[in-house]
């Protein structure tokens, strides 16, 4: 244990990477699942140990291969990315047991082992982006996670999944290339790729190189925003989420966009924020405007969507708007709200997509008109959907309320009353689309074709109910979510110039 302890940061990434290589040699889906499950369950243990170390002893700096930063690659863990590490690893660990049956139903037997291989690679990429303190290393992990995500999406049973994957491949690659252009410009100016070192060098040279630095900020913001599906760069997301295998959708919606948000926060605050007065640039205003557009337009589209998974996908675009709104507000409460929503939205959307996956598992469709009366046949699934749905709306007593409370307080800080009304107003749109699903499933009589439907098996039901319970739990006990998010936000804002 003592020998392993200092190397936990490397293990966090290396374990899923090696696991993916081993799974690639497996032929049986069940074997691949067993290994993926074991490794996934090891991840939160490491992540929690790391977060605990940072909360008690300050940031961890791990020098990969023993090379000193800024020359070598540094893994740097502070409250913010420790928090995101725990989120990503814990969410995937909880939903992992669900995968076996759902994937067996939706993916051909001979491709199942590949599915788990790609999943482990994706997990490795996501954790890598989060843990690394090196700009180019983050790009490499970004591409590892993206390439495996394209495959995960393409494994969907519908032929439109291929098209969605191709669309995402084009847009995702453009996004990653924009990111790497931005990093290239920063490297030209500072001669460093270490994020902290970059920030330190960028400050003094700001005045003479302002134009290049702003171009770099623009490229990085646009590139990462493509990945996190900030409106209007979200076009790839609805199809990708709608046609990917259900479990993959739940996994990606809960983790992939969240990690991209983390990367944006890291650049806006820790790199550019530390080097200059970001208030002087219009970036926060632009982010707020786009977030508001996402909250309203995407939620509005969701209201008219009849494909349950597509509806949830548009809702995701809208909910990401709340997270980025917190980033745009850039004050203690606002940023805490955004970071808390990172967790809360991950938990709620995981529950919603898992519920949609359970419906597909039983009746083979998620078109809204065919779900009439489903509440009588799959009561626990629909109940979990309802709880998480009310969380999206932000009903008091659910996790969503906490996020919106912090955001509203953050909006009041500069005295923006209108913003509070907009936050509440857009929540009502969520009430409409969630309410529509509940009306169809609970108030209508079930048709004869639903006669045999029932709640899914325990391995699928347990993660679903756990996420629904977490939605309520995080609505009351906010020590772990808002508490740590607040610490992270404080550290980020203290680093601003």
């Amino acid at each position: 244990m003592r020998a392993v302890w200092p190397h936990l940061p490397a293990l966090q990434v290396v374990i899923p990477l090696l696991g993916a290589a081993v799974v690639a040699f497996m032929r049986r889906g069940a074997h691949a699942f067993a290994l993926a499950l074991t490794l996934t369950w090891a991840m939160p243990v490491i992540a929690i140990a790391l977060l605990w170390q940072t909360l008690t002893g300050g940031p961890i700096s791990y020098h990969l291969g023993g090379w000193e930063p800024p020359w070598g690659i540094e893994y740097r863990i502070d409250a913010l990315n420790g928090f995101v590490l725990v989120l990503v690893s814990a969410v995937s660990a909880v939903m992992m047991p669900y995968a076996h049956r759902s994937i067996a139903r939706e993916v051909e037997e001979r491709k199942q082992a590949w599915f788990y291989c790609m999943y482990l690679l994706c997990l490795c990429g996501l954790l890598g982006i989060t843990i690394t303190g090196d700009a180019f290393n983050a790009f490499v992990f970004l591409e590892i996670s993206s390439l495996s995500t394209y495959v995960l999406i393409a494994l969907g049973h519908d032929r439109r999944a291929l098209l969605a994957a191709f669309q995402y491949l084009i847009m995702g690659t453009i996004g990653a290339t924009f990111y790497v252009i931005g990093v290239g410009l920063l490297y030209l100016m500072t001669g460093s790729l270490n994020l902290a070192d970059m920030a330190a060098r960028l400050g003094p040279m700001w005045d003479e190189n302002a134009r290049t630095a702003i171009a770099a900020l623009a490229f990085i913001t646009v590139g990462v925003s493509l990945k996190l599906a900030l409106f209007p760069l979200h076009v790839w997301l609805p199809n990708a989420y709608a046609y990917a295998p259900s479990w993959a959708t739940a996994f990606l919606s809960a983790t992939a966009t969240k990690v991209a948000v983390y990367l944006l926060v890291r650049y806006v605050f820790s790199v550019f924020g530390a080097a200059l007065d970001i208030g002087a640039l219009p970036i926060t205003e632009i982010i707020i405007a786009l977030s508001l557009a996402a909250m309203f337009i995407a939620s509005f589209i969701a209201v008219f969507e009849t494909h349950l998974k597509r509806m949830l996908a548009y809702s995701s675009v809208g909910q990401i708007g709340y997270i980025t709104l917190g980033i745009g507000l850039a004050n203690q409460s606002g940023l805490t709200g955004g970071l808390v929503h990172l967790v809360n939205h991950a938990v709620m959307k995981a529950a919603l997509f898992l519920a949609a996956g359970a419906v597909f598992y039983r009746i083979g469709t998620v078109r809204l008109e065919q779900l009439a009366g489903l509440g009588r046949r799959m009561p626990l699934t629909v109940a979990a959907f309802a709880v998480a749905g009310f969380g999206l709306v932000g009903a008091p007593g659910t996790a969503g309320f906490i996020s919106k409370w912090y955001l509203a307080v953050g909006a009041l800080e500069p005295g923006w009353w209108w913003l509070v009304f907009l936050i509440v107003g857009s929540s009502l749109l969520a009430l409409v689309y969630v309410g529509r699903v509940l009306e169809v499933t609970c108030l209508r009589e079930p048709g004869p074709e639903l006669a045999k439907a029932s709640d899914p098996p325990l391995a699928m039901l347990a993660p679903l109910l756990l996420f629904a319970a977490a939605t309520v739990y995080f609505g009351f006990d906010t020590e772990w979510t808002a508490g740590i998010a607040g610490t992270a936000a404080k550290a980020l804002l203290a680093g601003l110039r």
Binding site: L163, F166, G184
Partner: protein, 121 residues
């Protein structure tokens, strides 16, 4: 005239930006998926230039310590781009594999025809 002079002095950036824009334009303007991927590759390749060009210093030698030389070229961009090339190859390979599968499923690689044929865009 000074603008022209700046452009000529920085002709390497002009080439990079031209390739970048050309690649991006092909991705946006073409409906054929294979052509889209070609555009994407051109776009990615332009970034390789963006990194490698500034690493070269006129009169600089490879970074091998020797008392006879004092100016060295920066080797790091080359190493970074080696990684980026691998990523580019993987992306292109995966993209082409997807196009093959799309062609099997739809019988075409033209986006317009696919969206028309799918009933629902």
């Amino acid at each position: 005239m000074s603008t022209l002079k700046t452009l000529i002095e920085h002709y390497n950036y002009v080439v990079t930006i031209f390739l970048m824009m050309a690649g991006l334009y092909i991705v946006v303007a073409r409906g054929n998926m294979v052509k889209k991927l070609i555009g994407l590759s051109v776009f990615q390749t332009s970034v390789f230039l963006l990194y490698i060009e500034p690493g070269k210093i006129l009169g600089g030698t490879p970074p091998i310590l020797d008392p006879a030389f004092s100016v060295y070229s920066n080797p790091l961009p080359h190493v970074l781009i080696l990684t980026a090339i691998v990523v580019g190859v993987a992306t292109l390979a995966l993209g082409l594999a997807l196009v093959v599968r799309i062609n099997e499923a739809y019988g075409t690689v033209e986006e317009d025809e696919i969206f028309d044929g799918d009933g629902k865009a």
